[in-house]
């Protein structure tokens, strides 16, 4: 991978220490962020299994990775190909909307969004 000059970096929130066991509230907020409805019965199941997964992957914390560049792509040295600026797509909205749960006059419908 490439060694990126620091000037381009954008700050991220600082990392807190890895917690091992997740609380019920944390599971609820993760599920909300992921837009997943979980039943009362599911919550403790995910609480236990996510906690054990995080404990399992916690093994990585002990590895010395100083000066190791994160690997974002499995093949080294490749770069993005650039497509010519050509219009190649035609209007197929009627066909594409056959899979849609609810449409009207070419629009996809969802419950009213309040801004």
């Amino acid at each position: 991978m490439y060694d990126f000059p620091l000037i381009f970096r954008f700050p991220r929130p600082t990392t807190s220490r890895t917690p091992m066991a997740l609380t019920r509230e944390q599971i609820e907020s993760i599920a909300a962020l992921a837009r997943l409805e979980l039943s009362a019965a599911e919550l403790p199941v995910y609480q236990a299994s996510l906690s054990s997964i995080l404990e399992f992957v916690g093994a990585l914390e002990r590895v010395d990775t100083a000066n190791v560049t994160p690997m974002a792509h499995p093949l080294p040295g490749l770069s993005q190909r650039l497509r010519p600026d050509e219009v190649t797509e035609a209007d197929h909205h009627a066909e594409y909307q056959r899979n849609a749960p609810q449409t009207l006059a070419g629009l996809y419908l969802v419950p009213r969004v309040i801004e």
């Binding site: 990126f4 962020l33 837009r35 974002a72 650039l82 497509r83 209007d91 594409y96 629009l107 969802v110």
Partner: protein, 479 residues
């Protein structure tokens, strides 16, 4: 408001003027029927993948070079994850840690004529979202994804703007620049050029920034100024009343002239940025960057400086004439047709021409008097065929008829009278017809000189050479 300092940073979103979208082959044209320009990639169908449009990359690099920024040799696309109906994949492909353009600047001219350099933190490529429509859909929102995937360059300024006026000046300057570069059509009504404003206030002299509010989606210069002024006043009032400013996203309501909290966007945003594994690093070598540099036009500031020195124009006039590339091109074409009359041409372009364009809401390209024709008129003024005032009549006639200055002058007999004998004859007639005024003038009522000028001009249909008339009239009146 005294005692407070305003701090503003702008995030400008400019839609790039590509034919196809940034990651798909869909058209980007405005105004198509709903979802007619939403391909499988734009719709985020299962299994489809993005492929980057080279023209979007070139345009972003062009902007970077124009603002004196560093072009990243390697930049990365990242996913910004959030759920919204107008965001089909549940993430926006954007750039985060490694944007394509970093650290540039743009100079703006302040009211007192001083130049302020505004820092630009970064500019990155990203895809636009679709649109949500509410009208005529009771209880529902309709989603049109034609705009989804339109290439955007987001230009992030440093928080260095200190007033709404400065923010507008910066926005206008950037608007001028992107159109010079032909990377954005600048159509603000259609949303091609818009901004979010980060606004905060702090006590004068304070070094720490205050808590900021982000005003979203401002798409007219007037709204930017009003929204910022409203927001500044709101924050100061809040702080002076012992309250605190909440960091939040706000929306400007142009009907009410106020900003209000956008609660829908307030619920814990955690965008979980990470490099998009569907796209590889964008690697730009020097040859690529130089090939883009070769396409750079003369930039507004360069053009203004050149116009100033080449044609002896004031900085203000040069600034006005270079506000758009088309206007500057028009002006220079006029000068080419009338090389000796550059300053006169500047006044005419900024005056009569712009007034005529504004009256009919025309772009300079649609002017009914072309630059060569206007140059012809300039020559008629400087060679005294017509006076400045008569030239305005000639111009109006040229505008409506499309005829040349020469034709209008000849057909309407507007040629200036420079024959001394003819003018003297007319003066004599006027003096004979107004003995009372003549006597009063000769007894010391100098003010009546203007009366005689008017009478003679009336008699010539305004065509007498004014200087010549003055001279002859003085001589004759004094007897």
């Amino acid at each position: 408001m005294s005692g407070w300092e305003t701090v503003i940073g702008l995030e400008i979103h400019a839609q790039l003027a590509t034919r196809s979208k940034i990651f798909s082959g869909s058209a980007t044209a405005y105004g198509a029927p709903p979802n007619a320009q939403a391909s499988l990639v734009d719709l985020g169908y299962p299994g489809v993948l993005p492929v980057l449009n080279g023209a979007a990359v070139r345009m972003a690099v062009k902007l970077g070079l124009a603002i004196g920024a560093t072009i990243a040799p390697v930049s990365i696309f990242a996913r910004k994850n959030y759920f919204y109906p107008d965001l089909p994949k549940g993430y926006q492909i954007s750039q985060y840690e490694l944007p394509i353009v970093a650290r540039g600047s743009l100079d703006i001219v302040l009211d007192d004529g001083t130049v302020k350099r505004v820092g630009i933190t970064r500019a990155h490529l990203e895809e636009d979202a679709g649109k949500s429509l509410h009208e005529g859909l009771p209880g529902m929102t309709g989603v049109d994804l034609n705009r989804a995937g339109t290439p955007l360059v987001e230009i992030v300024s440093e928080p260095e703007l200190r007033s709404a006026k400065e923010a507008v000046a910066y926005m206008k300057k950037m608007h001028t620049l992107v159109r010079y570069l032909e990377i954005c059509d600048g159509n603000m009504q259609e949303g091609s050029f818009r901004c979010d404003a980060n606004v905060s206030v702090r006590k004068s002299g304070a070094t720490k920034f205050g808590t900021r509010a982000e005003i979203k989606n401002l798409n007219s210069f007037r709204f930017i100024e009003r929204a910022i002024n409203y927001e500044v006043a709101r924050q100061i009032e809040l702080l002076e009343g012992g309250g605190t400013v909440v960091q939040e996203t706000r929306l400007y309501d142009p009907d009410k002239g106020e900003t209000r909290s956008m609660r829908s966007k307030e619920e814990a945003n955690d965008y979980r940025y990470f490099p998009d594994p569907d796209l590889l690093p964008v690697v730009l070598d020097a040859a690529f960057i130089e090939s883009v540099r070769a396409t750079l036009p003369e930039l507004p500031d360069q053009k203004a400086a050149r116009l100033g020195s080449q044609y002896g124009l004031s900085a203000y006039d040069a600034g006005v004439l270079t506000a758009s590339r088309e206007l500057a091109d028009y002006y220079e074409a006029v000068v080419r047709a009338a090389p000796a009359d550059a300053k006169l041409a500047a006044n005419w372009v900024m005056g009569e021409l712009c007034a005529a364009l504004n009256k009919e809401s025309l772009e300079v390209g649609a002017a009914r008097v072309g630059p060569a024709a206007l140059g012809g008129l300039m020559r008629k003024i400087s060679d005294q065929t017509v006076s400045g005032n008569v030239a305005k009549i000639v111009f109006a006639s040229m505008w409506s008829s499309g005829a040349s200055a020469e034709t209008v002058i000849e057909q309407q007999g507007l040629r200036q009278i420079t024959d001394s004998g003819e003018i003297e004859r007319l003066i004599d007639e006027v003096m004979a017809a107004n003995p009372k005024q003549l006597a009063e003038y000769r007894s010391g009522k100098d003010k009546l000189f203007g009366f005689f000028v008017g009478q003679v001009m009336k008699a010539t249909g305004g065509k007498a050479n004014p200087a010549q008339l003055n001279e002859l009239l003085k001589k004759k009146l004094s007897g």
